[in-house]
Symmetry: C2
Subunit: 140 residues, 2 copies
DNA sequence: ATCCCTGCAAACTATTTGCACGGGA
DNA sequence: TCCCGTGCAAATAGTTTGCAGGGAT
């Protein structure tokens, strides 16, 4: 119901493409590229045009319902918005992205508030490296 | 001379496009989009093709001479490589990007090394917010 | 009944690639 | 001399936009 409420509150209509895109984003906890979202949407309803998916993602981003991340250098990915003390660990071998909660972000925010004259709104942390699966695989 | 040495060490030739792109990247401390780099290169030598600029940026990235950052959602930007405990503050009003040194990154790296089973290689921190200039401008 | 949102198709733009020549080693 | 890197032009791919009709309110 979060979706419908947010849409109504911002004078937008509840439509089928918007619901389907929302369902797709929520049914996988994963990060999805635009192309993956388009595919998943088509699986649920082949009639929905990809331009509608793009427009919907843009709208959701404006409403802070989803977040676009440039995790890799290849494509940007989308996911349901989450607090920004959840950071991203991106495995450069298998490409898997996991979330990791940390207080380092809060520490940084405090530090910025005190020391610099920059007012921080959002903090994005991306860690590239090797995930546990790939580490153990390398040991074979 | 860092450029020539690095190129030779990796069996690459020193050519005019490579030198010009390197000069452009070093003459501004700023973050430059690919388009800005192409323009600046053309100002120095209109004969250099943009595809060479792209190829050169790719090569420099492979050699860790420069770094591609997806700071904003619009375009990716390039800059001379720097240690990754230098984080980026991006002003969402004027778009200016500044650097900020912090130990929070080291703290995070330590935390990751101890707690999780993810081996961190690189850490990228992007802070969006309002820079001091824009803050004071808002107070008028 | 109104007009927002959609599907469709075309446009756009940034980046990549194939190829033959010229310049660096 | 050798062959890597270049300029050129065409191809590619992801995303955006104009338009007219249909659906949400």
């Amino acid at each position: 119901m979060l979706l419908e409420a947010t849409l109504r509150a911002s004078d937008h209509r509840m439509t089928r493409p918007r619901r389907v895109v929302w369902d797709v984003l929520n049914s996988t906890g994963r990060h999805l590229s635009a192309a993956e979202i388009v595919d998943a949407v088509h699986e649920l309803d082949p009639g929905i045009n990809s331009s509608s998916v793009y427009r919907t993602l843009g709208l959701f981003a404006d409403l802070d319902l989803v977040r676009e991340s440039r995790l890799t250098d290849e494509a940007s990915t989308w996911e349901v918005a989450h607090p920004d003390d959840v950071i991203h660990l991106v495995c450069s071998l298998c490409g898997a992205t996991t979330h990791h909660a940390t207080d380092a972000v809060d520490a940084l925010r405090t530090q910025l508030g005190a020391g610099s004259d920059f007012h921080a709104a959002g903090i994005d942390v991306r860690v590239t490296g090797t995930c546990s699966n790939c580490i153990t695989r390398l040991h074979d």
